[in-house]
């Protein structure tokens, strides 16, 4: 029985906890044991705080005994990407720069999870400062794919995707700047949602590219995804870019079906280099949507070719600015015995940052520098507007867009490390969603050579309801949803 619990949904576990079939402490213990048993191989976690997790669980148990209102995620363990700050819990962004950094505050999403009764169990591995697509750019070593430990889990939120796929936790949070939730979700065979820009507070998400970053959940089911969205979404006075719109109940009407919903299939998203296995899995996914009553419409997103270039200008520009604060003065890594101030800055940053982070800081510094701003940054913003307009036009015709997440399945560790440009091109199908500020989800839709493939669904801004309903319709029609990794 107890091992089967690991494979139950978060919603069902929460019901067991509040109806006292199992205590939050026992449940947390089960997941902690699962982590202990599996993580030596997969390394999803950078930090597991066993004592604190059990203490949180005991507090929930106490509240249940007292008959208090314990919240919609009571007793459910949640893993947090190390890009998101947690009060009193080391937060490094998988960088040497923040080695040993213990934040004095909780991100808004973490605070909301705690209030909802969730158990914050630990911090997951990632690409350093969320820069990467494989979780190999971690100062603390790579995370491995739960379906084949010789392969990468995707990234940058690889640790959170793996933790959920391996059932080390029922739920996890990641961040998505150009696909960092959807791509690892696809490569690990779990559900991963990037909400609309501004739907979830960014306060406490360490900034990589502020106009693109969003926090979002990983789960094994669409209803679990909806349940955690109900907790983390909503206005936050600490984030000026967080939209004040009311949050609908994402669980309500989730099983309503998609009869009559128009699903657009963009021809530009079936790119050269996409493997046949991925393409047929995606096609199968789209067919399921049609079978469920959706009307398929071929659409065009003509500026798709410019997405990668636009993204790598805007994201690196913002990153070069956001990462300026890591200077060795107030916190984080400081070079030993600096000769002078300049030496302290330059060596602290040289020794503290990994090579991908430095590459992006240099790119971003270049595109913002005097004389180049108009040619790069300003131009990229103009193209970004065109990309957004592509989607505006498409959503005049359709309710949801369906397409692949990644042109390939999980690749081998080290396979792309020497070719950053090839790695950047991996993001081609996910970054337009960030550039346009749309909600996007990856749902498992099949396997290619025993490696999972994710179907990407996109909706217009604040269209999470229809997005989740479509994802749920697909999930109910998908025969392999119970296939287990690890």
């Amino acid at each position: 029985m107890s091992d089967d619990l690991l494979f139950e949904s978060a919603l069902s576990l929460r019901e067991r906890v509040v109806s006292k079939q199992i205590s939050a402490s026992e449940l947390t213990g089960l997941f902690l044991d699962r982590i202990a048993k599996t993580d030596a191989t997969y390394r999803a976690f950078l930090l597991v705080d066993r004592d604190s997790a059990l203490a949180q669980a005991r507090a929930i148990d106490g509240a249940i005994v007292r008959g208090d209102d314990v919240g919609p995620l009571a007793g459910v363990p949640v893993a947090i990407k190390d890009q998101i700050v947690t009060r009193g819990l080391r937060t490094t962004c998988a960088s040497r720069m923040l080695e040993g950094f213990v934040p004095p505050y909780d991100a808004t999403v973490v605070d909301r999870l705690r209030r909802a009764g969730a158990i914050i169990i630990g911090k997951t591995n990632q690409d350093e400062f969320a820069m990467g697509s494989s979780t190999e750019n971690s100062a603390y070593g790579p995370t491995r794919n739960p379906w084949d430990p010789n392969r990468v889990p995707g990234g940058s939120s690889g640790g959170s995707a793996v933790a959920v796929a391996l059932r080390q936790v029922p739920l996890a949070l990641g961040t998505d700047t150009g696909g960092s939730i959807r791509q690892p979700a696809s490569l690990c065979g779990v559900v991963g949602l990037k909400p609309t820009y501004g739907r979830v507070s960014r306060f406490g998400a360490v900034a990589f590219a502020s106009s693109l970053d969003q926090i979002g959940p990983f789960a094994n089911t669409v209803p679990d995804t909806a349940a955690i969205m109900n907790v983390i979404a909503g206005h936050d006075p600490n984030d000026s870019t967080c939209v004040p719109a009311a949050v609908p109940d994402y669980l309500s009407g989730l099983d309503g079906g998609i009869a009559g919903i128009k699903v657009g299939v963009p021809r530009e998203y079936f790119v050269p280099g996409m493997t046949a296995g991925v393409e047929s899995a995606i096609q199968a996914g789209i067919d399921r949507l049609r079978a469920a009553g959706a009307e398929l419409v071929e659409i065009s997103l003509p500026h798709t070719d410019y997405c990668v270039a636009t993204y790598y200008i805007i994201a690196t520009a913002e990153a070069s600015s956001n990462l300026a604060r890591y200077d060795g003065v107030r916190y984080g890594y400081r070079a030993k015995e600096p000769k002078d101030l300049y030496d302290m800055y330059s060596r602290s940053r040289d020794e503290g940052f990994g090579s991908e982070v430095k590459r992006r800081i240099m790119l971003g510094t270049y595109v913002l520098s005097s004389g180049y701003y108009d040619a790069y940054y300003r131009k990229a913003q103009q193209v970004r507007t065109l990309i957004r307009q592509d989607f505006d036009a498409a959503f005049q015709k359709v309710d949801v867009i369906a397409c692949p997440v990644s042109p390939v399945t999980a690749f081998k560790l080290g396979e792309m490390v020497e070719d950053p440009l090839q790695m950047y091109l991996m993001d081609i199908l996910t970054i337009s969603c960030n550039l346009a500020g749309l909600p996007g989800i990856s749902v498992p839709c099949g396997f290619s050579d025993n490696l999972p493939v994710g179907l990407q669904l996109l909706a217009k801004p604040l269209g999470e309801t229809v997005l989740l309903r479509t994802a749920r319709a697909h999930e109910m029609a998908y025969p392999d949803s119970a296939r287990r990794a690890g």
């Binding site: 962004c93 934040p103 004095p104 960014r202 502020s210 000026s240 870019t241 604060r325 916190y331």
Partner: protein, 479 residues
């Protein structure tokens, strides 16, 4: 200096706004607290924090824009200005760049010649202050205090419109006074909540193109602004006379040796890599908001000055003196408000008696020992005729020096002698004892009236009602 050159000066003023909290966080903003006691996660630029704009700071900045006749942008934007320094927590300062809040304004300044000159305000933008770095050479350490980091600032940039150090200081004083009237900045240069950088260049008279400018920083008093500009004016003139080229650079004013010293040349200038701050939405102001702020503006010094001349018939000079600081004009207003004092009489007493006494003691108006209410009571006794001008001055001194109550001083002095019978008795006695003077007066030397009145004053120890004494003396002498 050689008069062949015309001096061109433009000023950049940084004024700290007196808000309760910092410009992008709820952290309290105060001066003179223990180092690093006014910080929070946002102020320190910890990983993950985000800025949230302080609405009161926006209101104050708009007030200054309106008071200096600027047009206020309905949509303005914050931008990040990047440079590395230990007291700049995020590695960038949130400022405004190509879409500032206020633009195209002006203020008028009075010149020595009595003319008025209009100086352009190019722009006023909002930004956050940095912390302070303290270098301890003895211990070979630098320490940073972040209390000031994130305090709201407005930067007020003038046009290159001033033509002398005197004009520059006059401009600075007008700006300072407006900020103080609006009550949005403490305006203390020594404490650094009102700071000035000066751009100065020289060109030959008649030449259209500006000469190469030099920026002077670190000038922390009005006096130093003047001194630094005079020094730089002479240095540049000497350079040009010697056929040398002025290099565009930033110089620091060194008040210990009274000169400017080179800090960095244009080649070393930072590339600030400005770009719109993606963490902050564009600042959008509606017509209603702007109208609401405009309707709450207090009366500004220029308006007040014109009103004093128009309504109270004060001289231009007295009006200028009485409006030269908000505290002084508030004092004057308070005198008028109690006991309905005559505005001209009150103006005379405030600007001569009170300011004279305060100047002697080196006290500002805020430290006056004579409350507006008490001065009004003295003036009330004076204009009702119960005391003479001379007595009023005595009462004033007693109130000023001893903190006495004006009414009790007047009553113990016995008050003014306004009894015609008593005064006539004295007059007749004096006339009887000075036949020669009486004869001369009656022969046409009427200026001798003063002699008789003076004698009465002497007998009454100055308590005789002067108007009444005058009238009685004329009547008696002409009998």
């Amino acid at each position: 200096m050689k008069t062949a050159y015309e001096t061109i000066i433009g000023l950049e003023v940084h004024a700290q706004l007196k808000t309760q909290s910092k410009v992008f966080s709820m952290c309290p903003a105060k001066a003179n607290e223990l180092p690093n006691t006014l910080t929070d996660v946002v102020t320190l630029g910890l990983p993950g924090v985000l800025p949230v704009l302080n609405a009161q700071a926006v209101r104050f900045a708009v007030m200054m824009g309106l008071a200096t006749h600027c047009s206020i942008r309905k949509v303005s934007r914050f931008a990040r200005k990047h440079y590395f320094y230990p007291d700049l927590p995020k590695g960038y300062q949130i400022s405004q760049y190509d879409e500032p809040l206020c633009e195209h304004g002006w203020i008028d300044i009075d010149l020595e010649s009595g003319e008025t000159k209009r100086v352009g305000i190019t722009r006023i933008h909002m930004e956050e202050d940095a912390g302070k770095t303290i270098h301890d050479a003895d211990r070979n350490e630098s320490r940073v205090d972040f209390n000031r980091a994130g305090v709201p600032l407005i930067e007020i940039v003038s046009g290159p419109d001033m033509r002398s150090p005197d004009e520059a200081v006059a401009y600075l004083k007008v700006l300072h006074n407006i900020l103080r009237y609006l009550d949005i900045c403490d305006g203390n240069m020594e404490e650094g909540n009102f700071r000035c950088d000066a751009n100065i260049s020289l060109r030959l008279h008649g030449q259209e193109r500006f000469g190469t400018k030099v920026e002077i920083k670190n000038i922390n008093s009005f006096r130093y602004v003047h001194k630094a500009l005079v020094y730089e004016q002479q240095r540049q003139a000497q350079f040009l006379d010697d056929g040398k080229t002025i290099v565009q650079e930033t110089r620091l004013w060194n008040s210990e040796v009274n000169r400017t010293e080179s800090m960095r040349s244009k080649e070393d200038a930072h590339d600030y890599r400005y770009f719109p701050d993606p963490d902050l939405l564009p600042l959008v102001l509606t017509d209603e908001t702007l109208q609401a702020i405009a309707s709450e503006l207090p009366e500004l010094p220029d308006d007040k000055r014109r009103r004093f001349v128009r309504d109270f018939h004060l001289s231009e000079y007295d009006s200028a003196v009485l409006t030269s600081t908000p505290e002084l004009s508030r004092y004057y207003d308070a005198v008028l408000a109690s006991w309905g004092a005559d505005p001209k009489l009150a103006a005379n007493w405030v600007s001569t008696e009170l300011l004279g006494a305060l100047a002697k003691d080196g006290k500002p108006i805020e430290k006056t020992p004579v409350s507006p209410e008490n001065l009004a009571r003295i003036l009330h006794h004076l204009s009702s005729g119960s005391i003479s001008g001379k007595m009023a001055k005595e009462v004033f001194e007693k109130v000023y020096n001893e903190g006495a109550d004006p009414d009790s001083v007047v009553s113990t002095m016995g008050g003014q002698v306004s009894d015609p019978e008593a005064l006539l008795a004295i007059l007749r006695d004096i006339i009887a004892n000075n036949p020669a003077q009486v004869e001369k007066y009656r022969a046409g030397k009427t200026q001798l009236l003063g002699f008789f009145v003076g004698q009465v004053m002497q007998r009454t120890k100055g308590k005789a009602n002067p108007t009444l004494t005058n009238e009685l003396a004329i009547a008696e002498l002409n009998r």
